[in-house]
Symmetry: C2
Subunit: 157 residues, 2 copies
Amino acid sequence: MPEDVDAGEVLAGSVGFLLSKLGMTSAARFAEMLEPLGIDPRHFGILRIVAMTEGQSQQRLAEALHVPPSGMVALIDDVEARGLVERRRNPNDRRAHALHLTTKGRRLYERALEIATAYEEHLCGGLSDRERDHLLALLHKVAAGYGTPAGSHPGMA
Amino acid sequence: MPEDVDAGEVLAGSVGFLLSKLGMTSAARFAEMLEPLGIDPRHFGILRIVAMTEGQSQQRLAEALHVPPSGMVALIDDVEARGLVERRRNPNDRRAHALHLTTKGRRLYERALEIATAYEEHLCGGLSDRERDHLLALLHKVAAGYGTPAGSHPGMA
DNA sequence: TATTGTTATACTCTATAACTATA
DNA sequence: TATAGTTATAGAGTATAACAATA
């Protein structure tokens, strides 16, 4: 009977514990929701940054996402194999690849954005709009203590 | 220049993204703070549950923490090698090990609890007491949507 | 025959650093 | 000589399932 053994009341009062637990649980849920699309949250991150900065080189994105170059190769290989991203030759510097979304990639990215929205609804379903705004503000306030840039996520690395 | 490429404003408005990012960042910080003790957050979890339920078997704890039996062996090996936990023979069932904290283990666990408290302070340093309580309440409300028991953390598995 | 704990195997993930092609 | 990208290799981590001791 694991119930005997649970007794986690102490940690229920800890912001750190709850944050870590909720972050992990909800990220796993997001990953499940993306599964029908054949991608995971990191691929989503790649699609997002390529969509925002078409034509950039792999290493530039690797730096921005704090992913080692070899890891970026694997990630781009994944999305390229699915026909979502194209490596184009850069005529100015033929060492570098210019990354672009394919039409299929753009469509899938849009579907992924819808899933992200549905996920957000799912997550905040129990909150009123006011509560959601308040939670967001409080999270930003906590996050301010960690000087991390807005768009980057440690899970990419 | 990664700054050109950042542009994460959209996700800054997402509870899910922030939660996942903050959870991961702050958990990494907690791990760093535990490092001087030679343990990581999972070992802390083991010490905690053993402290709360002295004499339990490995498999009972494994079930409670959703860790596979072989993983529990590795985890207990770690803390036993550091002299923090003892495997005692159970006279009633000599297949099973009864797990107990050593004196050293109890002392180290208490230091780890102090670190956990310091970590919580560090995390919530930017918040007033009222804000902290409010954040906790909102997080609990979100967590209610995921029927996870209070003490368990998916990171143990 | 079932169960506790252990070990062995195989698998995934990832990072480091060597390599190529361009510059 | 330096840089973009790739590949090869080796290491950590982890799960599956076979195994030994006990019930």
